[in-house]
Every structure is written in C-alpha cells, then in structure tokens.
C-alpha cells in the first residue's frame, strides 16, 4: 500500500511484517523512532508473538539479541553512533557465533566532538566485524532491505546490518510502498536455525577455540560472506518478482554505459549525485554513478566490471579514515582492473554537513579537469582550519580544538544550508 510516512515508521512496519519474535533496544538518536514504533505495535497487539525488551544499554541490547537468536528466535535491534561502539564487543560475538540478527544502523557521526548528525563513521567503524552491511539509498530501499536482510541472514546464519542515513532518511517523510503480509510471508520463510539452545537437545554455543581451530572458524566466516555475494543478486531478483520493484542487489549503475567519469557512493547522497549527473549529462559530460548497496561483503568482481570503462573514478564518502583518507575508496582502488586509473577520494558530509548539487558540480568538474587532490574535503572551511593552525603555532596552550573552530565561525546555527 502506498503511504506518505516517515522513514523510521516505514522501517518499523517492514520489520513488523517480518514477524520478529524478540526486539530489544536502547534509545539513541536518530534510531529511536524505529524502535518506538515497534514498541507501540507490540503493546497494541498489532505485532503478535513478539517480546519487546527494554534494556539498560546498547551492550545489553546486542547481548539480548544474541541470547534470543541462540534460543531460536528471530531477533532485531537498532542503534546508531556511540551506541554501535558501545555494543561493539557483542557485535563481533553475534557474527562470530553465526547468529542471524538483523540490526538497523541509523548512520550518525561519532564523537568527540559530540555530533548527532549523519555520516557513515559508525557503520564504517564496524566494517570488518563479520556482519553483512547493506546501505539504503531511500526509504523504500531501507524498508525493502530489511525484508531481504532477514532472508539472507537466516539462510547463511550471519547477522545483517541495514544502514540508513540518520535524519536524512530516518526523519524524512516520503512515499513508500508498504507490502502486504502475504507478500512478505511468501518471500521470507519461517526461521529454521542452524543452531539452537534447546534443553531437549543440549549443545554449547561459543566454546573457547585455540590456535588449532580459530583460523578455520574465521575462514568459514569469510566463506559465508563470499556466499552472500552469490545469493544477494538472486534474492533481489526474487524480491522483484514478489514485490514488483527492484531493491537490494550488490551495486547499482546509473548512466555509466559510456561514462568517462564514474562517481562511487553509498546511501542517500546517491539521489543528489544522480540529479547532478543528469545536469552534467545535459551539458554533454560523460559521467555516471555507481551506488554500493552491499558494502560487506565487498562485491569485488562486480565492482571491477562496473568500473571497467572509466577513465577516472571519484569516490564520495561520508567517513574519514584519519591518517589515510578514504575507506570506501581504498576498497574501490583494490578492485580496479587498471590500477593506474585515477581514483579521487572526496570526503563529504561529515557530521551532517550539507552536500549540495552546486558543490558536487564543482568537485566533479575539478576531477575531470585533473585538478582535484587525490584526497579532498568537500566544502572544507580552509580559513577556519588555518586560523586554528596559526594559533597553535603561536600559543602553546592553544586550548580545545572544536571550541576554537566554533569561536572563529560566529553563529553557524543561524545558517539554513
């Protein structure tokens, strides 16, 4: 059914349609509306046969999800930012144990300085934790990816993180098609666990493993992620046949057929990039976009093929590997058939910084002209940075950095964009 609703609400409805049996959550912006919505549905009885467990922290949220999943329940939770970091130890345990928990990450920056706005630092900090990581471009895809996540995770017995941009998607009202229960039931079979804590047939889960077997266990986790690369395109196809729309998959190409320049990105910024590309195409520029839906496992072969014809690649990412540059771009570079193809890393949108078409036009044009640094920062206020650096050269006790940057800027809260 078509509905004009908030992204968080759409995701809550999608999760409910997947018939979860245990939902545990600890509130943190911008994820809160999702689990609030689910909590209401459990309380009202609209979501039956589901236990909603309020926990005292994110660490407990993931721990409860692990316990519930090990007991054979379909388990779901959601978090963001510092919440994801606080549960990190349990996040690794969930994947290490092979428990198919589904978790929404409403992407948000990581402090310090504290910042509630969107970027991808939280999800990227956990990129090697063994979870599958899917990124949604819009609210329809966020909704759809959750349904696919349960299917994929349970088939492989691996946990899946569905990443959606905090505020930009979670708090945006837009049109979504909410599927009917029979459609979801047809697509998502009943959960048949590969392992279960059952008093009638006792097993232990999570034994200590020494040097003789640990490598093998980790290798099997890697193999499973590689299997996900095989399964994901098929699940996306099947999704299309049941729900009548394309969602999910590994990568999405847009106007890349004859493109000299391909922009690689993930998440909601793809929409703004596509509009920019349309405008540049109208002026005769051969530019296209490659959107990453599946970031982990890394779709190496598909990426290599998709970028084959490009003379240059611009990777626009909302996270920063401090001391290196780009996380996504490093991955992209590894997948290039011709390693000499220039890859420009553009760090953008950190801590909720607006990414505008005007700025994208400028940075893409610079890349095409060969005038872009290999690592650049979109709309960086160089004056503000220089001011702080100059002060640090002059004064030993130069004081806290974030406060110094703010002080030099006046009152940015009054700005609209």
């Amino acid at each position: 059914m078509l509905k004009q609703t908030e992204g968080s609400h759409a995701v809550a409805e999608a999760v409910a349609l997947c018939r979860p049996e245990v939902i545990c959550a600890y509130p943190i912006s911008p994820q809160t509306h999702i689990v609030e919505g689910l909590g209401e549905m459990v309380k009202s009885g609209a979501l039956a046969n589901c236990e909603f467990i309020n926990v005292e922290s994110e660490f407990a949220a993931m721990s409860v999800a692990i316990g519930a999943s090990a007991a054979g329940a379909r388990a779901y939770t959601a978090t963001a930012s510092q919440g994801l970091l606080f549960m990190a130890e349990a996040v690794f345990n969930a994947s290490g144990l092979g428990l198919p928990i589904v978790m929404t990450v409403a992407n948000r920056a990581i402090g310090a300085p504290i910042n509630i706005w969107n970027d991808h630092t939280d999800a990227m900090s956990q990129r090697d934790c063994g979870w599958i990581q899917l990124f949604a471009e819009d609210n329809q895809e966020a909704l759809d990816l959750h349904i696919q996540a349960f299917r994929l995770g349970e088939e492989l017995s691996l946990p899946v993180m569905v990443c959606m941009d905090g505020f930009i998607l979670t708090h945006a009202y837009e049109r979504v098609d909410i599927p009917a229960q029979p459609q979801v039931d047809a697509y998502l079979p009943r959960y048949e666990p590969r392992q279960i804590l059952d008093p009638a047939e006792p097993v232990s889960i999570g034994a200590m493993v020494g040097p003789e077997a640990f490598m093998e266990v980790r290798y099997l986790a890697h193999i499973k992620q590689m299997q996900a690369l095989e399964l994901i395109p098929g699940y996306a196809e099947e999704f299309r046949s049941v729900f009548g729309r394309g969602s999910g998959g590994l990568l999405h190409s847009y106007r890349t057929e004859d493109a000299d320049t391909i922009v690689v990105a993930l998440g909601s910024v793809l929409g703004t990039i596509k509009d920019t590309v349309d405008e540049m195409r109208a002026d005769g520029t051969r530019i296209g976009v490659l959107g990453i839906t599946c970031f982990r496992p890394w779709p190496h072969a598909a990426m290599r093929t998709a970028l084959e014809g490009a003379k240059r690649v611009v990777v626009l990412e909302k996270s920063l590997a401090v001391g290196l540059g780009g996380i996504v771009s490093s991955n992209v570079h590894n997948s290039l058939a011709a390693p000499s193809t220039p890859v420009y890393t553009v760090i953008a949108g950190l801590g909720g910084r607006t990414i505008t078409r005007a700025s994208l036009h400028g940075v893409f044009a610079d890349a095409i002209a060969g005038q872009l640094e290999s690592v650049s920062f979109l709309d960086l206020d160089g004056t503000a940075v220089d001011r702080v650096l100059a002060r640090e050269r002059e004064v030993r006790r130069s004081g806290p950095i974030a406060e110094a940057v703010l002080r030099g800027m006046g009152a940015p809260g009054a700005r609209i964009g």
């Binding site: 819009d138 505020f167 708090h171 945006a172 837009e174 049109r175 703004t272 990414i355 009054a414 609209i416």
Partner: protein
C-alpha cells in the same frame, strides 16, 4: 518541483507542518518529500523544515536553498534568521502575524515580489480560538492553500485529519479552514483595491 521552506521556533510544530504538507501533496497523487533541518531542537530555538513536491520521484536531499514559498510561523525570526534567503522572484510569502508587511518593517523589502503572492494571517489567534493552544502550524497550511493555490484546501484538511487524533484534528481543521477563508478574503480585498 515546488519547494516550500517553513521557519518557526521549537515547539510550534514546524516539522509537523512540513510533514502534513507532504501528506497533502501525496493525497493529490504527487511525489512529496518533507524533512527537518535536524538541529538539536529546543523549545523556542529557530527551526527550519522543508517540503518538496513534484510529479516525478524526488531524489534530491539538499536543504531547500531557493524556495518557491516561505511559511514563517514566528515573525520575531525576521530579524534573527535570513528567512528570505534564496526566495525566487515570483515566490510566495505567508507570515503568521496580525500585522501587515509594512507594519513588520519589511514593506519595502517585499516590493520586489508579486503582491498577490504575499499574505499575513493571524494563525496563532485562529489556533487559540479553535485548538485552545498557540500552535499555528495547521492554520498556516490552510492559509497557504489559499495564497499559493499549489495545494487544495481539502488535501490539507485530510492531511491534518491523518496526523492528529480526532479531537485535536477537529480543532486544527477548524483553524485551517478559518485561516483559508481569511486569506481568501484578504486576497479579494487586495484585488479590489488594485482594480480601484
């Protein structure tokens, strides 16, 4: 694409107004997108929310920097925030106040815009009368339907109905209707004055 920016203060239902406007457009079969400016909202602090609608799917995620319409829920913002920033030349301005543009001290400024696209409406008074609380957002949407003509009043009323529980919706619908009639009256008066 038609882009509306709504300015107000935390607690005035600015974000809800943008959401309701998007629901109203959706009900007319259009694609619509509404989102807030994502500040750490505090009661009384300046808040901005955005609503776009179009006949095709909207992919753009940047804030609205060149609005086709402005709804200003609190006239005290006029001298605090650059509320008019980027407004297109034939753009619409609706301000919640019982005063006129010249009484607000911006008579000269708005001379560059189409007179028939500008209106003030005492939305808070309508809200106090019909809702019992100084929440002008729904009333302003009623006034906006009248001044802009880009959304039907029935769609606005249906969106209000969808958003609030029945009793609250009833009051807000009455306020929206009253503001709609008021703005229509103001516009007719202005048209007559011009004809004379």
């Amino acid at each position: 694409m038609f882009q509306t920016r709504i300015h107000g203060r935390g607690g005035q239902g600015v974000v809800t107004a943008a959401e309701m406007l998007s629901v109203a457009a959706f009900r007319e079969g259009r694609f619509a997108q509404a989102f807030p400016s994502f500040g750490s909202e505090r009661t009384g602090a300046p808040v901005v929310a955005f609503c776009r609608f179009d006949d095709k799917a909207i992919r753009l995620r940047e804030p609205i920097m060149q609005p086709d319409a402005l709804i200003i829920q609190d006239p005290t913002l006029l001298h605090q925030v650059d509320v008019f920033g980027g407004l297109v030349r034939d753009g619409y301005i609706l301000i919640n106040t019982s005063r006129s543009f010249s009484e607000l001290g911006i008579g000269e400024f708005v001379q560059g815009f189409h007179a028939e696209h500008l209106c003030t409406v005492p939305a808070t008074e309508f809200a106090l009368k019909h809702v019992g609380r100084p929440l002008p957002n729904a009333a302003l949407l009623g006034g906006f339907a009248a001044v802009s003509g880009h959304i039907a009043i029935d769609s606005v009323l249906a969106a209000i109905r969808e958003k609030f529980p029945r009793k609250v919706a009833d009051g807000n619908i009455a306020a929206a209707r009253a503001a709609y009639e008021y703005v229509l009256g103001e516009m007719q008066e202005a048209a007559h004055a011009q004809a004379d």
